[in-house]
Symmetry: C2
Subunit: 202 residues, 2 copies
């Protein structure tokens, strides 16, 4: 089976998952952590070169502080544990803002070795593109072209996820919510990806 070199993950649906269980919306984020680490391990086992993961965006920080506090916390937990397990971790996002977790500042330059993990934290597509005018390169310039993007939670949109690296990515949507992640979701995405042609417009 032809594996994608670089896969993007959009783990959406934490709040809907919590609401469906009568929990406060913000309680959903913590339930996204174990699945994220499980998927991280799976990607390493498969030998995937690079993954990009949506943590939270600048737009997301307009939510109530009970939520922003909890998703920041979940992101820090994921990043530190992924780093501890062994990853070449780069955090991509606007670290000039108070929304950016100080604990992740050192990962604004890639640290560690192993599978490349690009973790989008306080990321914004406009912030990213503004790099082209401000400095002549994307702020995500160290992130390569995506081949496959997998989104949980049913929405069929990119929601600002790495627009330049996504230009030729195949887009697979899982209707289940992210905390309901099962390994079969990713297996199905990979099998589907294997059946897609790759002409790149030629």
């Amino acid at each position: 089976m032809r594996l994608p070199r670089h896969v993007g993950f959009i783990p959406d649906g934490n709040r809907r998952w919590a609401s469906a269980r009568g929990m406060a919306k913000e309680d959903g984020y913590a339930h996204g952590l174990a699945p994220a680490l499980q998927l991280f391990d799976r990607c390493r086992e498969l030998g995937i070169d690079e993954v990009s993961v949506y943590g939270f965006t600048q737009d997301n920080t307009r939510r109530p502080s009970a939520q922003t506090h909890r998703f920041r916390e979940a992101c820090v937990d994921f990043a530190l544990e992924a780093s501890r397990r062994g990853a070449a971790l780069l955090v991509v996002g606007d670290d000039s803002s108070a929304q950016f977790p100080p604990a992740l500042a050192r990962f604004r330059r890639r640290q560690g070795s192993g599978m490349k993990v690009n973790f989008l934290v306080n990321y914004g597509w406009q912030w990213d593109l503004d790099g082209l005018t401000a400095q002549g390169s994307l702020r995500s310039a160290d992130v390569t072209r995506l081949e496959l993007i997998v989104r949980w939670g049913g929405a069929r949109r990119l929601s600002g996820f790495l627009p330049v690296q996504s230009v030729y990515a195949d887009f697979f949507v899982v209707d289940d919510l992210w905390p309901d992640y099962r390994p079969a979701h990713f297996t199905q995405a990979l099998q589907w990806f294997d059946r897609q042609d790759r002409t790149l417009g030629g």
Copy 2:
């Protein structure tokens, strides 16, 4: 029903359609013209403000000249007929290249009145983004944010289609090939769009 203000169309599958009928691949493009005009008329009837349509890309011009000749021809036919029926037509693409049809040069600035039609001809996502470094704005700066993108032919990817305007677009894929367009495809896309939430990350 809540209609999208701006819809993108990726009419893919002309070559596969022709091959499946034992025709030469390049004979497929001409069969995409009548559906395109039918869909154009439908959008006007519905009162949609703006549509963006993938004609061909700079990547597509690497194909055999029998194909490039025919898709250029189909694009000119569509643009002139849409203009004749009444549209505010803007052609977006690199007109400094021999691949750009001279007959469309006058539409590099929007001409006419009515529904806004942005037609991508010899378009390239990189060419578009290069505008940010070269001139401080996208080369597609006159194209607004997309709300819905409909792609025919089954592929679940943007293939470089207006990456900046697509950041929050809902993406609907029709498995049928473009020359097999039926009005029901677009009706289904609109009904599906009406059921999507629009939080824009908030």
